[in-house]
Amino acid sequence: MSRPADHDPRLLDLLAGELPPAEAEALEAELARDGDLGAARDAWAAVFAAEREAFEPAAERAALERDGLRVAAWVQDTVRRDEAAAAKRSAAAPRRRTWARILAFSVAAHVAVLAVLAIALHGGGSSEDAGTVARVGMGSEAFEVEDDLEARYANSMAAVQWRELVQDDLGAQLDDAALMEQERLPEEIARFDFDEPAGWGAPAHPAEVTVPMLRRKNAGLKRRRLDLLGFNAKGSLRAVGRGLHVLALRQNGESGLFEGAGGTTSVRTSSLATLAFLGEGHASQGSRTEDEVVARAVRGLRRTVASRKALAAVPDEALGPLGVALAEDYMLSYGSLTPHAAGRRTDEIERLTAEARTRLTSETTLAATDRTWLVWAVDAAQRAGVVGSEPHDRAAFQGWVASTAKAAAGDATDTQEALAVGMALLYAERGAEKPRFKRWSRTNAAKLLEGLKLTGEARRGDPVGETALVLLALQMTYRAY
């Protein structure tokens, strides 16, 4: 019994171009003579073509070829940045190891003492139990913090970050380590007397509140926590990097603002995009490429706040993000170590905060999301020490937090929820009652990550604002956990 023609393996090899030339020639001659064999070849050819179209659609192929430029630029930027960081780490490695041992020994000793204290206090039912235990917990993170120190010395803002690091993360028990670390700082930073309280900043900037909300602390630890929740932290960080690259490409060279659909710019979109960069630690006074993007954007945004009159024209939905962007950049750039050098840069933030307070107290029809952003703007200005905490702010504070929680518990989007979670946890850290809302699930995290990937396709539409929001939500996730 002969086999059906379409079972002839030579047909498959012929169509795949794998038949040796002599055999191919012989088969072609046979195909010309044998109608059944020819029909079988045509049928297989149709399957081959359909398979190609199923997985490599012609239209998509052309789009991907066009995307090659973007992908190549992103790859080269990413690798060069990594290589530069690795070279810096490698150059500093011997000294770093020595200091790491000294710091580790110091931290271990303090942790041991605090652990004993914590146990003793716990047994006595002291009201300070929670704080003491928290400090012990922070001590265990010291090694991770030390691991991150090298990157923090990249520019002159290292002292600000180091000061925050010591006071926020480890507490006063690491003051001796701070003294040791002076020797590692650049000369101009080392001039500060770390042992002198005045050196830490003006009284108007109490250190415990000047914490940029967007700054990611203990990144490695949080990554592990997030991964335990099912969040692909490494993947999300890569996605954030790509997202920022896309945003940078959409910055208008003249205005410094970010362009949305049709090349138009808006204060809200530009503020959100600026915040996305700030969330990765880039600030207008830094020296990295992305810092220059922030510097341009901040200059553009400040021009829109040139006068109170101009500010009145900024819509509610834009005012909050604008205020947060300028205040957070101020904190990341100047902290409280050099308040006088910042000088007049606070004018715009003061005007913005006044306008935000006016709207919060006088407008009853504010949307919940806009209200949340305005509260954040006021809060950020206070934390930056640019404005004081007004009595009516304090009175309204719980109400604002409650509205934030309500937005988070309702039918808010994933990004709104992420922002609300971040805000609420920040407020909880500052003594406010922690609001109740549904806890983030890993599904939400996965959706966010996917949402960011989708911007690859959405780039052909109006991607900047949405991309920035998703980036912020991812960054808030780190802040929240």
């Binding site: 399957v47 998509e60 430029l69 692909n232």
Partner: protein, 195 residues
């Protein structure tokens, strides 16, 4: 003489970064097609392709033209997919972009690997054929699937596949034949024949 892709990569290895862009433009569609055949949806396939280029560029200084660049590239791509697959199996799984867009039915990763079912509005015979082909490819055994995917990436020869997978060319050929027959059989079971 080396092929054009290999020449480009050698220039990248020599420090000529400008040669990387045409290389990416040429290879990006093929890499994305490769990952889609392995079961990734469009956004994940694009993401994987970018990660592979990242690895290639990181390792550029050590590149030598011991084989064609495509052989080298898809070797990295295959290893990357294995990592992704392991991560998915170990982790909670990602919601596919199609599901989020409402194109899928919410089954998540399983749907990604099988390809979407034909929708009621996809009445055209071509779309039915495409959907059936994705399902048919998803029925292939692992060994057949691996060979099939590599072979269907344009210009990747049986010899190269053998080098990538470390198997004889004859084995590649027999697996390819078996794969095509399986696909054809599934299409026939579904009452579909290509035009």
């Amino acid at each position: 003489m080396a092929d054009e892709d290999t020449e480009l990569m050698l220039r990248v290895a020599a420090g000529e970064d400008a040669a990387f862009e045409p290389l990416v433009r040429r290879m990006l569609p093929r890499l994305v097609g490769y990952f889609r055949r392995l079961g990734a949806d469009a956004s994940i396939a694009e993401d994987c392709a970018q990660e592979v280029f990242l690895k290639v560029f990181r390792a550029r200084a050590g590149y030598t033209a011991r084989a064609k660049f495509t052989t080298y590239l898809f070797h990295i791509a295959r290893n990357h997919w294995i990592d992704v697959y392991r991560h998915r199996k170990a982790g909670p799984g990602m919601v596919s972009a199609e599901v989020l867009r409402g194109d899928g039915d919410g089954d998540g990763p399983r749907r990604e690997f099988e390809g979407p079912s034909p929708q009621p509005d996809q009445a055209g015979s071509h779309r039915e054929l495409v959907a059936a082909l994705r399902r048919a490819v998803a029925t292939l055994g692992q060994e057949q699937h691996e060979v099939f995917v590599l072979a269907r990436v344009e210009n990747l020869r049986y010899q190269e596949i053998g080098e990538i997978l470390g198997i004889p060319v004859g084995t590649v050929k027999s697996r390819m034949h078996a794969a095509w027959r399986q696909i054809r059989a599934v299409l026939r079971q579904e009452g579909i024949e290509p035009p």
